[in-house]
């Protein structure tokens, strides 16, 4: 993907399934009580969340991420946009929220790097850069790993794009990658 690709902006949720972040989502996926079998690391030593519909009412976030879309929730009643995604609006407390896609590109607001002392499961990437990224045309500022350049070559204001990626055990997460 190049920098010229237009980000998808604010497309409103279109399916009833997308909108199901309220209690209905949990009712539709009664918990099996079991963690996904592919996971090898004990949950309490693993920063990556349990993503399945039997574990979280926000599983749609991860499903959409698998489709290449970084998204979050907003409240159709008061327009409040949330990060991270939520099941209840912090402003009006409505539980009927909807999903929308976030822009795929942004600029670095601040950054640093982890040169040592990384938590378990994250040591392999050391040294790695992290930063706060202002998404384009959007008030949301997200924190994340920044790949693509060593931290010594990053700059405030530098351009990045969102990059979903797969974990070895089948889960999915996101990070940023520098754009020249």
């Amino acid at each position: 993907m190049s920098a010229e690709v237009k980000p998808r902006r604010g497309s409103v949720a279109t399916t009833s399934r997308d909108a199901a972040v309220g209690r209905a989502a949990e009712a539709a996926h009664p918990s099996s009580g079991a963690a996904p079998s592919k996971e090898k690391r004990p949950f309490l030593l693993d920063f990556f969340p349990l993503e399945g519909p039997d574990q979280t009412r926000l599983s749609r976030f991860y499903e959409r991420l698998r489709e290449g879309r970084l998204s979050t929730t907003r409240c159709p009643h008061d327009g409040e946009r949330h990060w991270p995604p939520r099941t209840a609006c912090p402003k009006c407390h409505s539980e009927e929220l909807e999903w929308f896609d976030l822009p795929e590109t942004g600029t670095i607001y601040a950054f640093s790097a982890v040169l040592g002392g990384a938590p378990l499961g994250l040591e392999e990437g050391v040294p790695f850069a992290v930063g706060l990224v202002d998404l384009d045309g959007d008030a949301l500022r997200l924190f994340g790993r920044i790949e693509g350049k060593p931290w010594t070559e990053l700059t405030i204001g530098g351009h990045v794009r969102v990059e979903p990626f797969d974990l070895a055990d089948g889960r999915v997460f996101y990070r940023f990658r520098t754009v020249d």
Partner: protein, 394 residues
């Protein structure tokens, strides 16, 4: 303010450092130290116990630590017994809870104790525990821990205000030098001149090792009581005159300005307002220098200097002996180390010791009357402030 006046009437800390001892053993050690420090105290006097502990489940594989601490310390609380958890401010939370219980008449004599065991055989495991102070499923997988967050604060402060590594080193040098007067401090015996600090390895750019407080084992305890019982224990009480807290975000995306800690300004305004004093009345302050940049931002948020001038405030020695006020006389978190739940209690032990004139002479602040204590927790998303007055009547 309604309720009874409450004072700290005694306190003690263990040695802070990389300790060859366990969580329960440190609770015993600090209990013994407290009873030595307050010879008039009988264990049956203590009706309530508040235990500040941030992550005993992670660091010591132990929950339900309040009765554990009580047993270790030889206490049998019969009014209130509980743990307070607020990450790096768990200790001050224990004091605040004891204060509230005594002011309300629920407790008459309470102990607030903080214990943290952080050094484990696997420091990767310890770092994992530190990471879960953040918004674990959203910020955690990116590798968020305290150093990179406070490094971004430093980076923005340097960009917005021209703050320099030398200014941050000035904070660290001062607090390490103060720790050379504190035999309980982790870095009591180590010298850190500015040029040495500026040559230490980078941990999270632009922060170097000497800009960061340490993973530390330690415990501290204070005794609190109501005005009518104060004379039983001391002639030099540290009266709690004001308290304030503020929390405005948790996920790092919602931090807003990294360099303007509005939460601290609000918490301090609340605490100083209740005490009916101004920041300029404060003779010494114990503030949360988890990183050198933190103390610089705190100078500004507390109103000790204008926004953006915290670095120059440090460089000019205005928080040093002979400056506007003495900041972190015991050595701060940078010099003493930072055993999460014990830090806030150790700060209060210093306040009591300064008012009682029991600290070593070279550490004594001249004629102190007012002290301010600040704890922050997590990614500076909670600020906790207390104001104390020494001497005088209740």
């Amino acid at each position: 303010m309604t309720g009874r006046s409450v004072a700290i009437v005694g306190g003690a800390t263990t040695l802070f450092g990389v300790r060859a001892t366990t969580w329960p053993e440190m609770a015993q050690e600090v209990g013994a130290a407290l009873f030595r420090a307050v010879p008039e105290l009988r264990s049956e006097d203590v009706d309530s116990l508040f235990v500040g502990a941030a992550e005993p489940e992670r660091f010591a594989f132990q929950s339900h630590v309040a009765p554990l601490a009580a047993e270790q310390m030889g206490l049998r609380p019969h009014r209130v017994i509980q743990r307070t958890e607020l990450a790096c401010a768990s200790g001050q939370s224990a004091i605040r809870s004891a204060y509230a219980a005594i002011a309300a008449g629920i407790s008459d004599v309470a102990v607030a104790v903080g214990v943290e065991k952080m050094n484990l055989p696997s420091m990767a495991e310890a770092n994992t525990s530190m990471g879960c102070v953040m918004d674990r499923p959203w910020d955690g997988p990116h590798g968020a821990t305290a150093p990179p967050f406070f490094a971004m604060v430093a980076q923005r402060h340097m960009l917005e205000h021209g703050t320099t590594p030398e200014m941050m080193a000035a904070v660290s040098e001062k607090n390490h030098r103060f720790a050379n007067t504190n035999p309980h401090a982790q870095f009591y015996a180590k010298k850190f001149p500015r040029e040495k600090l500026l040559g230490l390895p980078v941990v999270a750019p632009p922060l170097r090792l000497g800009d960061c407080s340490s993973m530390t084992d330690g415990a501290a305890a204070v005794l609190l009581t109501a005005e009518e019982f104060v004379p039983r224990y001391t002639k030099t009480p540290a009266w709690i005159r004001g308290t304030g807290q503020y929390s405005d975000f948790h996920n790092l995306a919602n931090a807003g300005s990294l360099t303007d800690w509005v939460g601290l300004t609000r918490a301090a305004r609340e605490a100083l307002g209740r005490a009916k004093v101004s920041i300029h009345d404060i003779d010494f302050a114990e503030i949360h220098d988890c990183f050198s940049i933190s103390e610089i931002v705190e100078y500004e948020a507390l109103g000790l200097c204008a926004s953006g001038e915290g670095g120059q405030f440090a460089l000019d020695g205005r928080g040093d002996r002979g400056g506007d006020l003495v900041v972190n006389p015991r050595g701060g978190l940078l010099g003493c180390g930072h055993p999460l739940g014990a830090t806030g209690i150790a700060q209060a032990v210093e306040v009591f010791g300064q008012f009682a004139r029991t600290v070593p002479g070279e550490r004594q602040v001249p004629d102190p009357e007012w002290a301010l204590v600040h704890n922050l927790s997590g990614s500076a998303n909670v600020h906790s402030v207390m104001v104390y007055q020494g001497g005088g009547a209740s």
